[in-house]
Amino acid sequence: MQDRVMEKAAALLESGVCTRVLGWKTGEFFYDVTPAVFTSAEEVRTQMVYNPFCGPNLSKYLIAESRKEGKIAVFLKPCDTFSFVQLQKEHRIARDKVYAVGVQCDGMIDMDSLKALGLRGVTAAREVGDNLIVSTLYGEKTVPRREALSLRCRVCKSKRLNDCDEIIGEQGGDLPSDRFAQVEALEAMTPEERFAFWRSELSKCIRCNACRNVCPACSCEKCVFDNPGSGVRNKAAADSFEENLFHIIRAFHVAGRCTDCGECSRVCPQGIPLHLLNRKLIKDMNQLYGPYQAGADFDSKPPMLAFTPEDPEASIITNGRDGQ
């Protein structure tokens, strides 16, 4: 796949279909792959990579890149294409300035999963069939690829590549996914347990804003958390209230627009399971207002921008859905 992606990128630049390519290159470490823009076939051949560590979702960069001169080609995994469509729906991306190449995806691997398998001192990893051969300072180990998948890819909702000009590999479809299992487990707890759970998670937050900055849905020109009047601009939370404030508002602001790409949880340096907040909102909206998947199509109406006179009253929550 690496070769096909790079050949395609070089060919698109050489044939003049685009003037820039948005892809990935290796960062400080081999597993730390970072988004990058390439302007020549030469750069592509020497720097670009495509490997199972290419987790970063490139769609958000198109907001800025599609406003520049000339056309940009971008490589998108299925989940990235959901963000791509969602951002177009919000009129944030100039589609005619983008050449979208969808790349078939078998799930991404991340370092956290390798560590969870007990692998330390990892220096390289390569795919061989359904296995991953991992070189470490202590020798080579073979692990099944599916056990090395990042957590979000284990519950992948869809392998469908939306709105691409071209596809490398095969088009996929929606998958049955039990991504709400953890949300249900939390719902089954008592309020006291849930409160304790979220305190223990959210109190780790250092307010680096990485979750907000990486999120394709969190792309407002002016963010409430950058507003000096908010009292919480660019600062670590002073107490539990500010932690809750940031996380409630962050999750709520992307309600109905979050595609569940999983980037927020991936980038959090503190390992906070932010996806459990987003998924709760998605699950509620599906249950209360009908199934909806952000970024799946251009026509459906986002639930928070719609209503029906028959919508349930808020009392179904405050009185307890279970009649408590």
């Binding site: 209230f241 409630i248 907040l277 179904i316």
Partner: protein
Amino acid sequence: MPVNETFKPTIVAFCCNWCSYAGADLSGTNRLQYPANVKIIRIPCSCRLNPMFILRAFQRGADGVILCGCHPGDCHYTTGNYYARRRMTLLFSLLDYMGIERGRTRVEWVSAAEGAKFAATMNDFTETIIKLGPNRRLEDLRCKTE
């Protein structure tokens, strides 16, 4: 749960200008009793209620927050309260999911003619909050005066 007799909860009631605020007025002119600790904040329409306002109210000492607006179908701006209803339902569910007591927030539709309903709602909501006790899970100690 033991009910604290001396606990006088602070309630913040966001009332839309066109119905509920007038309803509160009517309850006053009719001399109906409701607790003095209900602080009414007037908003143009129920859908003006930013979730941030609710959190801020809790931060600054509210023990309960209630939103009152026109009855569905009667919003002065036609559909504002339908959007507010979805937003509040989702927000309250998220708060519940994070372990905040679900009785601390409420939505009630009160028309300009329903002075009695306004007073009854405030009395009932205050009762609920007294049973729940002071807001601890969304408090900000820096904002405590006593």
